[in-house]
Symmetry: C2
Subunit: 285 residues, 2 copies
């Protein structure tokens, strides 16, 4: 555990300008949202396209140099997934490594990417459509992507990412990857430059005018419908021979289901954070 | 219903190059994924930033001119959410409307945006980490965003988006929005230029070599852990006076929960689509 709570510095692209009271720059919060998202939205630019391009990828924060680093410390993001050759080729071109130099020497910064993850925890139903909201957690990271070349770091990231989908799965499969698997798999390491998150939980909040309107109060149901993900009963595949669902699967499913459900349900009852007067004036002005 | 199944044209930025057998360009499929996603990841570029910037926004496909258009027809995307002034100012600048001209006249194309949505339906646990997968649905759209200026179109979009979060909610709240609410809310209309989707469902698939390895088959559990979202018991808020949860809330929660659960569980048992030999050779070559 780090001795201090680290925050990402507030810069132009990561500073939250709306609903500032829901914003956080805490590394722990941001990295936790990223690491618990089954899919990350990774955006980059290609020279020929006027549009940014977004790919759904699997990824995980980690540190190859200090694998025991906590989520509150500076970390890299490792990405793996349906990596089109375009993002790989662009990353390779952006890092523009000079021939004959050692690793890390003479490298460009890499491909600029933005990584976004969000999770909705509940529908917040208030008196008027304008005051409707979600309970949610969302995070965004900015950084430079480079292809991992070292076999050791690649294996570290492959194990990290596999076990982020299901803890202990890596050790319980046929490993290590063979030569064909190693060469067909690419891993990107994103060096993070900044990030931010927004988190809302709690009961509905309405404007004073509506809260004094008896007709509206008598007619409109207000409250929160919690929303959470559930892992169902594991379904054995057609060539499975292992009779019992292994403990590392079953126990994890139970734990993560209970955690998700209680986060959403408790969050539906909590007091909602309300912006200060200064922030409201700024946003409405 | 349209007489034909329409597809988005395959262009450089939307053509899927990996796992082509999971790709689709069908308007119905893409628009359905977008419309059932509680959060859309909207990416754009800002002149001062080397990174694309991604915002989590709420949105819905629709047609103001032909509100009865089906999901299989060409539609616009309406976006609403934590719209920072940056995306609004950039959209306004990009549309660069000429003074004195009528609506739609002399407008630029708008701000180039990419919209991404994904949903994981299950963990596909195979014999080796390399063959692991998700059952999932993901969609991406490209288009030009402009701010909606007409009050009628803005109200159409606000109702469309509110009712996408919870059907019939709009009519069951305090409407219409007052002048302050109308002026503090912005809606973006995205004119779509192209899009694609990828969908996978089904049982695990492994390589021949692993399927012939008795030791691995005896040791590794293979199958699918279904994953689905559940709306929990609605939690009344602190100033709610309506004793019973209204039917349009309760019935919808029941229906959508059953639909989500059965999609994930049935998808866990289905035969998995397998790429043809030509595609495998191309991707591995």
């Amino acid at each position: 555990m780090p001795r201090h709570e680290f925050n990402y510095p507030k810069e132009a692209q990561n500073t939250v300008n709306r609903y500032k009271h829901q914003a956080t720059y805490s590394l722990t919060t941001i990295h936790t949202i990223i690491n618990t998202s089954p899919i990350l939205n990774v955006s980059f630019n290609a020279p020929s396209s006027p549009f940014p391009i977004t790919l759904p990828l699997i990824g995980q924060m980690g540190s190859f140099d200090r694998p025991s680093a906590s989520l509150g410390e500076p970390l890299d993001l490792y990405l793996h997934g349906y990596v089109s050759s375009r993002i790989m080729n662009l990353s390779r071109a952006s890092s523009s490594k000079k021939e004959g130099e050692g690793e890390g020497e003479g490298e460009g910064k890499g491909l600029p990417v933005c990584i976004a993850a969000s999770k909705v925890d509940g529908l917040v139903l208030s008196l008027t459509p304008n005051s409707h909201n979600y309970n949610y957690r969302s995070a965004v990271l900015f950084g430079y992507a480079n292809i991992v070349e070292s076999v050791e770091e690649k294996l570290y990231a492959m194990e990290l990412i596999t076990n982020s989908v299901l803890p202990s799965r890596w050790q319980n499969t046929r490993i290590p990857p063979n030569a064909a698997e190693m060469s067909s798999t690419s891993i990107l390491r994103v060096t993070i430059t900044s990030g931010s998150a927004k988190v809302r939980s709690g009961v509905p909040v309405d404007e004073k005018g509506d809260l004094e309107n008896e007709e509206v109060l008598d007619r409109v149901w207000t409250g929160v419908v919690p929303l959470y993900e559930v892992y169902g009963e594991p379904v054995p595949g057609p060539y499975n021979r292992v009779k019992e669902v292994p403990g590392y699967v079953g126990r994890w499913v139970e734990g993560v289901n209970e955690e998700g459900r209680s986060y959403a349900v408790e969050g539906a009852k909590r007091d909602a954070p309300v912006p200060g007067k200064k922030e409201r004036d700024e946003e409405e002005g």
